[in-house]
Amino acid sequence: MPLAAASGQGTSLLFGVVRDTLGQPVRANLRDVSGGHETTADGTGRYRLTVIAGTAVVRVGYVGLRSIVDTVVLAAGDSLERDYRLEAAAVELQATIVTAAKHSQLLDQSVTSVALVSDTDLARRAVSTVDEAVNKAPGVLFLNGQVNIRGSSGFVEGLGSRVLLLVDGVPANQGDRGGIDWDMVPVADVDHVEVVKGAGSALYGSAALGGVVNLITHDIPLGLHGQFRATGGTYANPPYDAWQFRDYTGGLAGVDATGSYGTETLRGSLTLGGRHSDGYREQDRSNQWETSGRAEWVPESGTRVTASGAWTSHQYQNFPTWCVAGACDTRGQAYQPFMIDNSGRGSYTRSNKGYVAATLDRTSSPSFAWQVRGSWLRTHFTDANPDDWSVANRLGAEARGVLHLGGGDDRVFTVGIEGAHTGTTSDIFGDSGRVGDHTEIEFAPYGEAEQRIGRLMLTAGARLDHVIVDDSIATTVASPRIGAVMPSALGTWRASAGRGFRAPTLAERYVTTTAFGFKVVPNPDLRPETAWSFEVGNSGAFASWGRVDAALFWTEARQLIEPAFIVFVDPVTHDSTPEIQIQNVSRARLRGLDASVAITPVPALTATLAYLYLDSRDLTRDTVLSFRPRHLFTVSSDYRWRSWSVGADFRYTSRIERIELDQIFGQDPRVPARVLDLRAGWERGPVSARLLVTNALNYMYNFVPRTLEPVRTMSVVATWTY
């Protein structure tokens, strides 16, 4: 993309309001294409954009709406009011993403599939946590809080996610366990989410084996702004008398308040929030307090310094597994999905987590921009029953440069270097059950080049990760990627092949605990798991009111890290005892079709259909891979009339064919999931109210063993925006 003109020229001010064709304000992105200045309209659609004096080309865009390109002529120091009206369009081609290539590019230029969750999606679903919003993205499925992109992660109790979480580009997976804390960032701060599918290790290294989820937080608008959001709701009671477990209706409540102030050079925002939930099961209460802040300084055109951070304290009761006969008083039932196994009574977690990050972005010429950042991520959990704790600190740094030769997108080079130091102090991941320390150092240079040849855009790059654990165990992994994008009369074709990897987490190497009555023993010799991912896809408009995106994907994974039973033989007594150890055990293949269709038959009506077909095989055991449903079908639709809107999501997830520890849980009932969410909204000026009914049919189902998925939950969200 063209980058900023050199500093030193005079500037002018463009201001006004952006609305859609129904008159509703739009948080549109406005960009001075020639000058490089950029801003985002606030919740009321108001914007102020600084442009280079003279003739300026301004692009006004928003996901799901047709972009406008406007040319204005302004003298230095002048200001001009300009209102824009964007039309709904499923054929919007100009959505801009920043995750797939580590620089700004159009969605259709990405060599891998990318799903977007816009702030409209976030708002109309009235979600309280980020994972609730990401969960409905095409090809994405959460299993008890663990994200799967095209079946990448399966379910391993939060250990070792095969998806990398970024917050504004900063890696945010836990330092010790490698899992994801979806409550790390208040949902009120999130503007939109980019979900990059397939191996992303060529740019992001470990954990990006199955994909990358980047939470993009709101830009801070100029002037004084605020938002207050209050949520209240109830959980449905069990649909059968035999499953009743309490004599009251569970509830939930939460408040978030955000304030911001911005000038041309300094901007800042602060969010405070808290929420309580009674939970929908026995021993399921939770309380959460959260805060986040962001400050920006723009000392000169093309330079921006950003400091951001968030802190969340979450105390929650745990519901390890539901109760089966013999494990509590099941009142004659084979199992009680709302009641807890007696062995889990008193299980409780206090989880504190947060990060701070500082970034310097500099556009030093029309063709070159660079960024440096530093970050500190801290997680600290304390469990009761079983009693254990862990503190992890991850210090990260990255320097990156993006060169657009000739100032355009025909030849782009991205190079960078990333490093991280993780320190863990823990009793469960420490020294064979005692408190101990472990460290992991990661160091990785990377580079990727994009070259246009005619209509074909070719991409090639690689990253070399060097990982050192406890100053003694060293591993080097190369992650290359090649890709191509070619627009045609039949849409834009894309193809890519890339290698992904995930280094074993400190928790997987050193965990010492007891699970299911068996001792879990450490395995310091774990090696990284790796995968090659291939994809061929196409996206484009098939009519003025419809757009399709489809991809065939194929992943070959090796050395997958999973729990396995081993037999320990005492060297003295020769007694043998079964134990659990995390090992490199499996080869696996995941292939399938990931397709979605978006239609806008009339401006007020939008609908999306998404389907994922997943053929997953555990090649070591010659079985279906565990925790991977074969079919995932989602249909969403929203209709707006004046200030009112209604919408619905329906998702069908086929029955999970195989689970881990099948010999223990194999006889438990498992069913396909059919979940209907309904929503309605009303907006007038700065005030809005939304009603959300998730799992409206109160359908009873589970994905992971003995863990009931949420029941019908009705909530109302009231928002006031200044």
């Binding site: 013999g326 004659g332 010999q663 049919l697």
Partner: protein
């Protein structure tokens, strides 16, 4: 064009409604596998590690078949809560014919190599027609209920008691 598309949307909506009409989610189940009530006689010895209910397709007449029970060894997660007079139990086993359903008492210090000295039969389901003999249980989907028996801590037998030939 729009009218045709609307028709397609309507058909898709009907398909969704049809799918929703088939609600086959989780439901209350009184039994899956083998279930019933165990009644305790006596007090569990102080050396007790746990008591489990297991089932054998074929009666184990030798050490070689001692561990051929259902659910498999790794599933021995749910020891019967001790101390009460009676307890509803449920063991998740596949459909089929089981010649012996019994409670196994496990002594502290058990491991796979000392099983003969640390395991005891503590009671088993008996043939209603001849209570001196084990009762055969045939499990169908979803399960077989009322497989009730007594656990008697005062009359427990080591595995070799049932071997051919039995231990002295």
């Amino acid at each position: 064009m729009i009218a045709a598309m609307r028709s397609r949307v309507a058909r898709a909506a009907l398909a969704v409604v049809a799918a929703l009409a088939c609600n086959d989610g989780l439901r209350p189940t009184t039994c899956s596998g083998i279930c019933g009530t165990v009644t305790f006689n006596g007090t569990a010895p102080e050396s007790t590690q746990a008591v489990f209910v297991v089932a054998y397709h074929t009666f184990p007449h030798s050490r070689d078949s001692l561990f051929n029970f259902q659910p498999p060894l790794g599933a021995l997660l749910r020891p019967l809560p001790l101390g009460g007079g009676a307890m509803f139990y449920d063991i998740p086993v596949e459909a089929g014919r089981y010649e012996w359903v019994l409670a196994v008492w496990v002594k502290q210090g058990f491991n796979l190599s000392n099983a003969d000295s640390t395991l005891r039969e503590a009671g088993y389901y008996r043939d209603p027609a001849d209570t001196s003999q084990p009762g055969v249980v045939t499990v169908s989907t979803p399960g077989t209920a009322a497989v009730d028996f007594v656990v008697d801590f005062a009359h427990m037998h080591p595995p070799c008691h049932y071997y051919s030939p039995p231990c002295p």
